[in-house]
């Protein structure tokens, strides 16, 4: 099986104080420029937002990334997407990664759906010819034929999400990251979106879905990862694990012994010791 994404002891810290965080930012930038490694220990006011996350995903996998608000799901997606650098560990990818999030679709409200498709396609790395050839399929899939020349101001949140999702799924990416995108669309479109993801995964695409909707996961996911306060408490088969996890909402990081495939991981503090 072809490996798609490999996370090896990935950690990320965040600072609780804004002003301190800005000073740490300057410190980190200077270190980076001088080629000096950033400190692995926590500085005052910092905490681990993600701690020692390790898992592998293979081509065709669809991972449901589950966790409470603030568990670190979106941060993990941003690390995989290369937007934030990890503080420890390593992320390797074996194909192109594209992401759709609830906020950052890159749309301009004042421009029409047509213009936004071309711009969004370019932002997601699609070639002009690919956008052109996929244009009709995108519009048809998003069910926005009547709105294609209407500015996005007239679109509802769900319609914008449909458009963003449609462009991304037609971009031909090898890894797709979706952050609560299908949470904003109606049930019928959600089912259609899930079916599209399932088919794309069957054809070799890897997907990571973040959300809280169990229906959506049941339709698509074959693997699940559960984050509790920045720690991976479960990684493995979706069907096997997620029933237990979702029926017992976990609020503490103590319940860590889940997961048949989870590796024994050293915490960054242990590493220092």
């Amino acid at each position: 099986m072809k490996k798609a994404i490999e996370l090896d002891r990935v950690s990320k810290k965040f600072c609780r104080s804004l002003r301190r965080s800005l000073y740490y930012g300057v410190e980190d930038i200077v270190r980076e420029m001088l080629g000096i490694k950033r400190p692995e220990r926590l500085r005052p006011n910092e905490h681990w937002c993600l701690e020692n996350i390790s898992f592998d995903l293979f081509a065709g996998d669809c991972l449901a990334l589950v966790g409470e608000n603030g568990a670190g799901k979106s941060t993990l997606l941003r690390l995989i997407n290369g937007l934030f650098p990890p503080d420890t560990g390593r992320i390797r990818g074996y194909g192109s990664v594209r992401a759709v999030t609830e906020l950052g679709t890159g749309f301009k409200e004042i421009l029409t759906g047509r213009e936004n498709i071309y711009i969004n396609g370019a932002i997601l790395g699609m070639s002009p010819s690919r956008v052109k050839s996929q244009f009709d399929s995108i519009i048809e899939f998003a069910e926005l034929t009547d709105y294609v020349d209407v500015p996005l101001i007239a679109y509802s949140t769900g319609m914008k999400m449909r458009l963003g999702f449609a462009v991304a799924i037609h971009s031909g990416t090898e890894v797709l990251l979706l952050d609560e995108v299908l949470a904003y669309v109606d049930e019928r479109f959600q089912a259609k979106g899930c079916e599209k993801i399932r088919r794309a995964c069957a054809a070799g695409m890897t997907a990571i879905l973040v959300g809280h909707d169990r229906n959506q996961f049941t339709r698509t996911a074959n693997k699940a990862a559960v984050l509790v306060r920045g720690k991976l408490t479960y990684f493995g088969s979706y069907l096997e694990g997620v029933d237990r996890v979702l029926s017992n909402p976990m609020t503490s990081a103590e319940s860590q012994s889940w997961g048949p495939t989870q590796r024994r991981m050293t915490t960054p503090s242990e590493l220092i010791q």
Binding site: E6, C15, I29, R38, N81, G93, G106, I110
Partner: protein
């Protein structure tokens, strides 16, 4: 089972592998041409669509300047034509410089949400802002040249030095703008401070006033790069003479070198800044 990784992100400083860093940097710069054009189109369209006169605003200031110039010939509005041209060129030079300095910073700050959520060559935003400022400048100066041609002004081959000077001016401003991004994104003091510096610079640049021969700071006023670029621009368009060309080329080369450094700086700093600033 799997080949070489397509990408690898780690905590290791990126400059420890300079070869890979620069390879990726140039790959992104080379591959983002299509995206730059799309962003440029987006910027112009979204900027002017909510105006009743639309893209006309792009040429309107130039058209008005040209009209006033034509008027000045009859002596009814301004008695000294070359003074009028100089004033217009001075205003244009200063305006372009200010736009060039602020443009990359505003582009990045305006796209924070996008940058925090989608991975794409960030250079595209910067090149789009460069082209946007340059296009606006060329349209404005082009209309002015047209008016001068109608007036029978001495537009010669040497006048092309004016265009070179304009491009260097945009490059110079953009480099300064790019250099402030890393710290400017973290601390808003930079943006405030920049406004003060720009005001001070305005008074040290004889774009809209004539200098007194014995003024204090005169040597600085005369050697300040913006003054030199402005002299070339006005000499080439008003008198059809290419002056200070070697200085312009020097400023251009130095700006280009500084731009490369600022670009590396930005590329390293942006991920660190983005995780610490709000959308």
């Amino acid at each position: 089972m799997e080949g070489r990784p397509f990408f690898e992100y780690s905590a290791e400083p990126v400059l420890r592998r300079p070869k890979q860093f620069f390879k990726l940097m140039f790959r992104d710069a080379k591959g983002c041409g299509h995206l730059v054009m799309r962003l440029l189109q987006r910027n112009f369209a979204s900027q002017y669509r909510q105006f009743a006169l639309g893209l006309l605003w792009l040429v309107l200031p130039g058209v008005i300047s040209a009209f006033v110039l034509l008027f000045s010939q009859s002596g009814s509005l301004v008695t000294d034509r070359s003074f009028a041209v100089q004033t217009f060129l001075g205003t244009l030079t200063w305006q372009t410089f200010v736009e060039a300095v602020y443009s990359p910073f505003r582009q990045i700050m305006g796209a924070t949400s996008l940058l925090k959520n989608v991975n794409f060559p960030r250079e595209a935003l910067l090149w789009a802002s460069f082209l946007e400022v340059l296009t606006t400048f060329l349209i404005r100066v082009g209309l002015m040249v047209l008016a001068l041609v109608v007036l029978g002004g001495p537009i010669t081959f040497q006048s092309t030095a004016g265009l070179l000077s304009g491009a260097v001016l945009v490059l110079f401003g953009l480099t300064l703008g790019l250099a402030i991004i890393p710290i400017g994104m973290l601390f808003r003091d930079v943006e405030r401070g920049l406004a003060i510096v720009m005001t001070a610079l305005f008074f040290l640049t004889p774009t809209v006033y004539k200098t007194q021969p014995n003024a204090t700071l005169n040597s600085w006023i005369q050697t300040n790069p913006i003054s030199i670029l402005y002299y070339t621009l006005s000499d080439s368009l008003i008198f059809g003479r290419a002056t200070h060309v070697s200085e312009v080329l020097w400023i251009g080369t130095a700006s280009l070198a500084a731009l490369m450094v600022a670009w590396v700086l930005c590329r390293i700093a942006l991920p660190h800044c983005l995780q610490r600033v709000s959308v």
